[in-house]
Symmetry: C3
Amino acid sequence: MVQKSKEQKVALTLREIADEVNGRVVGDPNYVVTGISTIQDADSNSLTFLANPKYRKFVSTTRAGAILINEDPGVAGKNFIVVDDPYLAFAKILAKHFYTPPVPAGISKRAIVSENAVIGENVTVGDGTIISDGVSIGDGTYIYPGVFISENSRVGKNALIYPGVIVRENSIIGDNVIIQPGVVIGGDGFGFVPGKNGHFKIPQLGNVVIEDDVEIGANTTIDRGAIGSTVIGKGTKIDNLVQIGHNVTIGKYCLIAAQVGIAGSTKIGNFVMIGGQAGIAGHLEIGDGVQIAAKSGINASIPPGEIVGGIPAVRHRDWLKIVSVWKRLPQLWERVKKLEDKR
Amino acid sequence: MVQKSKEQKVALTLREIADEVNGRVVGDPNYVVTGISTIQDADSNSLTFLANPKYRKFVSTTRAGAILINEDPGVAGKNFIVVDDPYLAFAKILAKHFYTPPVPAGISKRAIVSENAVIGENVTVGDGTIISDGVSIGDGTYIYPGVFISENSRVGKNALIYPGVIVRENSIIGDNVIIQPGVVIGGDGFGFVPGKNGHFKIPQLGNVVIEDDVEIGANTTIDRGAIGSTVIGKGTKIDNLVQIGHNVTIGKYCLIAAQVGIAGSTKIGNFVMIGGQAGIAGHLEIGDGVQIAAKSGINASIPPGEIVGGIPAVRHRDWLKIVSVWKRLPQLWERVKKLEDKR
Amino acid sequence: MVQKSKEQKVALTLREIADEVNGRVVGDPNYVVTGISTIQDADSNSLTFLANPKYRKFVSTTRAGAILINEDPGVAGKNFIVVDDPYLAFAKILAKHFYTPPVPAGISKRAIVSENAVIGENVTVGDGTIISDGVSIGDGTYIYPGVFISENSRVGKNALIYPGVIVRENSIIGDNVIIQPGVVIGGDGFGFVPGKNGHFKIPQLGNVVIEDDVEIGANTTIDRGAIGSTVIGKGTKIDNLVQIGHNVTIGKYCLIAAQVGIAGSTKIGNFVMIGGQAGIAGHLEIGDGVQIAAKSGINASIPPGEIVGGIPAVRHRDWLKIVSVWKRLPQLWERVKKLEDKR
């Protein structure tokens, strides 16, 4: 069970929780929970939730003090809070009562902040962090130690930048952006004119634009545009070790899982979901709402709303059929042989 | 040939080597070697070994002073040390006589060590490294420059942490753990409640637990648990650029090759081997001793002892048969067409 | 449109440009351009280019002041500069007139440079960068802040090393090498002797050798040799998040796209091209001029000049045929069933 530290101990009645999430208590509204937990590991002091049907079996056996759930399961002797979206409700309780944001600490004396950088109110800059010439940092932004923000980059308000992040020159980062450790923003794109006596480097003169509310996972790399910008749209969430090539444009509210690679100049629409280790070739267009299965290889543009998978990717429902035969190829081979023999 | 520096020059007779590795000299036990080498590049001062049968052809042509080998090949005029496991014997000679561990150097004046951190005996902390509040570091641990250890994390004894490693808050790292450069431990897991007006971030309140004797490769990322811990079991070795999602549990003595991705909440047993670039979906169970081929896509749980490969993964022996037909699909197509024509 | 800063404003007549790139003006040779742009986004002050036929449609609609192109398209009222290789010509104009290299800044007082390091003329070392004992840095090399160069490593002349790069001991880096942020050079290779009571670490005693004119993308990892060297040949360009295992040898002028993985001891020839997310097993030989499609899985050596793709990889032209049938497997299955029924 996760609890806050003793000084900040949480104690919530089920009634208070239900009020906050527009839920309805089934059981004892005065019951008090002090921590949160998964449904398997919960004890009587824990609030938990049921969202994934895979875990429904634990509803009758869990020791949880209370369960956020989307309908009353009719199990006696347990407390439930019935709510439309139990996962969202749980996340909101976590965010409000159990998450402790880093405490603003001002500009460290061991940070190196350019005299002509513009630093907002209530900004934290950690030990050894470097803020270069011409940079601006918005109010309330928290920058951990060991970060490098290069010339003329801008960071918005209330952003959170973890240690080891490198932001190269002229990057534009919006409000509320979260950047996990080790991310590289604005590295040179992979642009060369190939030649028999060597490959000529195409100077990468553009930048990276990251809109508001984006989150970027650890050690992900987002290359600067060759000319113009590489753009990550508002509210898009990117997992760890993802590669975003130069001049890629990603729309709003996409979800991009770990180790995905997107090659140069490809345009991704809004609300696109990309599974882990998928790869998308360059100069393609991926429409709004497209869903790409993990490990897919995308070598052609995809119209809006499609669900695709495979290498090369096909419609997901077709992929399921293809794979079902693929697994029986040795059998199919034998059957064809038999037909030939008997002819 | 690798030699130690002149001041530390190694000179070993074959008898001394044989004694150390429980081997038997075939040839001149008084012969002296001063360096180690691969079998192709060896000279008469070098000790080498034969383990991979692919390199057996070099036994008669190598100039090596002596060869660790698992049986006397009956080649005249050469020196052999016959030993059960020549690779292990070679590794042990390397570790004892040719590897120089970093020399303890104390706490650098340019390190930033919190006053309430607990630092053991004989600990090294390099220039610019930050040890935050509430951290403890065990005896004999060596931390290179440019490392960040966040609040309340614990590092065991005799650990070796290379430059650029980021350890976020509340991580627990065991004894003898080796962490290569650029590793991120405890970044937020990829947890969001998707929504039409934006994806709500689920606070990632758990931590990472790394048991004794684990090694982690460069730029690998291991996310903290959402609730509870992400666990890497004792003696497990992880290569570079691997992604371990939140709440993954990995057992003891696993070997995980480069660029593997393991999605959230999956449980991996003991002695599991995972080939490079394989991907494992979330919420699965991979049994003890499972072997997963490189580039596989795992979308279902796997019972203990299975050897699997492919996308999606099937038993490896089935995969070999399927691929054999897959390569002849154009031929199969023609044969079916012919059958139809002749009907 | 990209322009240089006001103080450094560029203004070039088409005649001047044509002279520099051995081109021929079609249109007004006295026309002046002040910036560069893509063909879609160009305005009347911009120079642009046409190389990818996909963008030919924009020739008649672009507002560009002038277009570098490989033959006169016969479009009236527009300015063209006809040149053999428009892409290369454009890149050269960019490099000469629009790219601003970082301005040499000397050795920062906040850098930590060993007294016995040998530093050339006109070298820049940024804040917080650590240059260890026995290191040498060639003339004109620019090292950004937050870099770590470990003992006895050598860096050539006119190299450019971005923030967050970690170079472990004994590495050798040539002239004009560019290393993007977060790269790890010389991490330990993944070498263990597996055992039931734990895996015995094989000390990684070799180093990394990077020849002249190599570029390495962000967060890429290049492991040191176990014994001997991992070698990256002259003029080879490596993209982001690539994994190069221990004792890999890569020839000259290769192009290796993002997220590729190359396992230990594999030898890659000259002018090899490897698409994104491809994986190459260990101990293989890839011949000169081989082209490997994105996402391929290479489990066998490849003779010079082959073009391959797929998992496992086959000749690319075979792969196209195989995939064409693979997509119709459900149809093939039905047809075989029909043949059986009608027999």
